[in-house]
Structures are given as C-alpha cells and as structure tokens.
Symmetry: C2
Subunit: 335 residues, 2 copies
C-alpha cells in the first residue's frame, strides 16, 4: 500500500519557516511542494540552498504566491510570515482563495482579540466559502500559556483562577527574538518603544482572551504591563554584548480581573541571562493543580514542531477559522 | 434566548457515578434526565436520595435500562459501571442501540488492547450503525499517563522515549480503590491474587498501547509487573488499620521495549501512606520535556470532572468508538 503524502507549501522563510521546512523534510509522510517568500532576493533560488542543505530540493522559492497556488496542489500551507493580522490579511486571503488549509504562526490569528474581531470574522467567512481550515498556533501563543492550562482544567470540576509563569532564557534564541525583547537598548529607549507600542510579546492578550472565554470568566478589566528586565552584570550572546544597566529583555504581564481580584495572570519574562528558565501553571479550583516544566518549553525547535504536528488535524477539521481548543491536541507525528 | 440543556443519563451509582451526577447538577447547561443501576435495592428510589441531597430530584433510578432509553430522550449517557469490556459489553450495546452517546469510565474502553480488539471493533460497528459516539476516559487512563504525555509531545520534533510516574496516596481515596490495591492483605495473599490476575490497575496497558501507537513506536516486547508496597510503620485510614509488613498498596509498572531498551515506562504506585504524591512526565526527544505536578492529579473529584467535561466533545464528534486523542481535549465546562 502506498500512503499518499501530505503536500505542504512553506510560506515565509525566516528562522521559523526554515525550521519548519527542515522538519517536514524529516517526515516520511509529508513533502514540500512549494515555497513562498516576499523577499525578492530569495525568488528563484532552490529551497535546499536556503535551508542550508547540500543538495537542491527541486523546489524553487517564489514571491508570486497566487500563481503558485493556482498551479500546485497542496493539502496545507505553513504560514510563518508575520504576527499582526492587519499586515498578513492579504497573504491569508490569497492562500484561502487558493484553496489551501493554513497552519500559521501568526500570533494574532491564534484567537481574535476584540480589536481584531472584524478581520477574524472575514477570514472565517473566506475559509468557509473556500472550504478550508485556518489555524493559528505555536508554543506561545498556542501551548504553554493557553492550551496547556486549559487542558489541565479538563480534570477540574470548577476553576476559579489560572496563573501562568513563563521564564525564557533569550540568550540562546534567534536574533529577531533577542531584538524584539529590547536586548541591548537603554531603559529610556525601551520605554519610548513601549509608548510607541512597538515592544512586547504579540499574542499574550490573545492567550488571556482564550483562557477567559473558554472558562466563562466574565472579566471586569484586562490589564497589560510591559517592563524592561535590566542586566545586573555583563552578559554576552552571539548577537549582543550587554553592560550592567542595559536592557536584557522584557517582562510582559497580562491580567484579567473580576471584582478587583486577578483571576487570570500570564507572566512572561524573556531575557538574556535567565538562569533557571521554567514554565509553570497554577490552577485554583476543584481540585487545585500545580504544574511545572523545568527548563520550559522553549526554542524554535518546539515552535516548528507544533506547527508541523498540527497539520493533520487542520486538514481533517471542518472549514473555518479555528482555535486550538476546537481541534484534537497535536502530538508528535513520527515517521 | 433559551439555550437547550444537555440531557444526561447517569448509568452506575457507585462512588464515581454519584460524584458525576452531583457535578452535573451544578452545571447550568446540563440536566440529569435518567439514572440506571443494576442493583435491585436502588430501583425505584429517587436519585436525590442516593446522592445525599435534602430534596428529591424527580428522577427515579431504574434497573431496566432498555425501557428507560426507549422512553427518555438524552444526549449522552455517563457510564460508570465497570472496568472490563467483557463484563460491560451488554450494557454498552443497550445504550448504543438506545441511540445515546456514551462517555464511560471503563478502563478497557479507553483504547483497545490486542485481547479486546474484537469486542472494540464490535462496539465501533454498533456505534457507527446507531450514529452515536462512544468514548472511554478518566484520569488514569484518560489523562495523566497517556493524553497528557502525548499532548506534551505536540511541541516535539521527535520523541525517543516517554516515562511517566504516578504516585498516589491511596489513604484518602474511596473504599473500592483502597480494596483493589490490596490494602490490609498479607504479602502472600497479594501474590496469590496477582497469580489469579485479580490485582492491578486496569487500564495501564491501555495507556501504554495508546502512547506507543500514536508515537509509532514499534515495540519488540511489552512487560507488566505488579508488586506490593509494604507498610513500614502502622498506618490508619477510615477503612484500614495497617501494621508494619501488611500490604499498603500496589506498584504496577508497564514497559514497552525496543531492542532491549525501555522506551515507554508507566510506573504507577498507589498506596496508603505515600508522603509526597506527584505525577511526572519525562519526554526524551527534540526537545526534551520534563513535567511535574506536585500532589498529582488524584481523587474522585478529578475523575468525575473529566467525565463530565468530556460530554460536549463526545456529543459533537462523528460516530464510532473514539479515543481521547481523536477529540478536542476537554477543559472545565463552567456554568
């Protein structure tokens, strides 16, 4: 018996896109049938070259997604080309009209925040019309601060509070991540950037809204605070050389309050020099549950993994814009 | 707008059945429309009396399930009336033919072991014909030693080994559980019972088979060992008074081997006097993941919770005998 392989198009060839493409190449039941990147300088190159492989793969990168979708049959597109719904809406529309299911790392696609409700509704409508599934997922949002705590509440009779902490050592992470957490900035520049709303982890509020909605928490107030984590000693990464007093990273906290009480807190600290990274979830309920993952679920490996592992369920799902809680939880798809 | 309540029949009124029924009564979007128990002495009694409620509920317990199913419309039956597929097959058949979806705590229904494959196939066929979903779930099997580790592998590119430990303090648990782990027996009687295959935790092998199958581990060998945990000092519960040397509980280990290496181990210790209960999961893979739940997910509260929380997804699913990995993970259904 020959099992038909799952045909995947990789859309976006930044560090995460490269990691997902390389991972798909290890799976015996998947194949890459196309690659898209908006960067003109990548167009026409063989994907193998961009992935750092010794041999060409016979898949040429294109910046003309529409043409690719019209010519190439595929079961799913892995989309790793942006965080903000406004910026990627056109890309998603093109993929959906091309009749392909989408698994995207776009943080704002994970769950519609109130300000994105209209765009999300449009995507949902387009997906219904085209008969495809659209899923936003990843490690954060997508797993540690939302799906995992909700999964834990599956064994609870009642949940009163949910508290998640995630401490990430950014020193070992990719350059765009180190840059986006403000590493190397002065605290003054960091504060300016916060005021200009260009700092912070996209997706934290999306996690908060999902957790609160699924648990039917009616919140009186949601709060978001972003503060710099300051280097206390000299710190060095491949990309940055920090002096004491420099910004080493970020602390981004999202809180949901009811009657003055914080019933959901998502506390994310990503900084260079975090010495004992971990993820923890504390459920206050019946029963209480307290979970800890020493070392944390971090790294681009994990992000690439959950995107690829989510492909089969996204293909099998009914059409529309879905949230991870709508689909069976992904598990490692081994070859 | 009036939202239609989910109508549930409770089948089985032992400690778990009583806990699920009481939990359903707290949910504003669910209602109990029937109750079944095979015990003649319960027939005709008001369910409220059996649940220890001050007021009658207007639902009379019956031992005639077939008649009840023909008369009463219901969306789902919670079945908590046995562990072994052979023993409960007739009950399940009656419920399926009655056109009701099933969420059952029956351990052997969780995932078909090789020896139950034929019965499971029959149940699947019956469910397809009747257009209903049949789901076996719970905390163990159903969550800690199978669904939770598999969920963690969702962020893994590759998984080489899965190791789960579950240490349960049985001293605070219900009488049937304390009895089934051999509490108060002499080690000799315990060994006799093991030889007669009447000891051990039903469902551990089912967890092992599910984990191995989903991760495509081809195992050369599966092993199961059952040993007594011996009391080292006097121990007292509501039901038992143990002397040093008495059996305090059980250690039940299931292992899957490939090329002589244990690549799946499920190590369950349930005994009176366990001082620091916990659940832990260790994934060896890319990346490695190490999770710990201090205190563990234990207690009949959690079992009742996951059964009730699983009802909506079981109703929404396509017909057939399903495994928890086929459905969206349950989360706490709050009122």
């Amino acid at each position: 018996m020959t099992v038909k392989k799952i045909r995947v198009i990789q859309y976006g060839l930044g560090p995460i896109g490269i990691a997902t493409a390389n991972l798909i190449l290890t799976k015996s039941d998947m194949e890459i049938v196309g690659a898209v990147d908006i960067a003109k300088e990548l167009a026409g190159k063989d994907l193998g070259e961009i992935l750092g492989r010794p041999e060409p793969l016979g898949v040429r990168v294109t910046d003309n997604a529409e043409l690719l979708f019209s010519k190439v049959k595929a079961d799913a597109v892995i989309h790793t080309a942006g965080s903000r719904l406004k910026r990627i809406f056109g890309q998603l529309e093109e993929i959906i009209r091309g009749g392909k299911n989408i698994v995207s790392s776009a943080e704002e696609l994970f769950y519609p925040s109130p300000e994105n409700a209209e765009l999300a509704a449009k995507i949902h409508q387009l997906a219904l019309e085209a008969g495809v599934t659209v899923l936003g997922t990843g490690v954060n949002p997508g797993f540690v601060m939302d799906a995992l705590p909700l999964t834990l509440t599956g064994v609870c009779q009642e949940v009163r509070e949910v508290h998640v902490e995630r401490i990430v050592d950014a020193g070992a992470r990719r350059y765009p991540l180190q840059r986006k957490i403000g590493a190397g900035m002065t605290p003054e520049l960091f504060q300016e950037k916060i005021a200009g709303k260009v700092m912070g982890h996209v997706g934290l509020m999306e996690s908060l809204y999902l957790v609160a909605d699924r648990l039917r928490f009616s919140l009186d107030e949601v709060r978001e605070t972003i503060d710099p984590m300051i280097a206390e000693k000299p710190l060095k990464t491949v990309y940055f050389d920090l002096q004491p007093g420099d910004v080493a990273g970020i602390r981004h906290v999202a809180e949901g309050l009811r009657e003055g009480r914080k019933i959901v807190t998502l506390d994310l600290r990503m900084y260079i020099g975090a010495e004992a990274p971990y993820d923890s979830v504390r459920i206050v309920g019946t029963p209480d549950i307290s979970l800890r993952i020493d070392g944390g679920v971090a790294g681009d490996q994990a992000t690439a993994a959950i995107l690829v592992n989510s492909i089969p369920a996204a293909i099998a799902a009914t059409p529309g814009l879905k949230t991870v809680t709508d689909l069976p939880a992904p598990y490692c798809r081994q070859s």
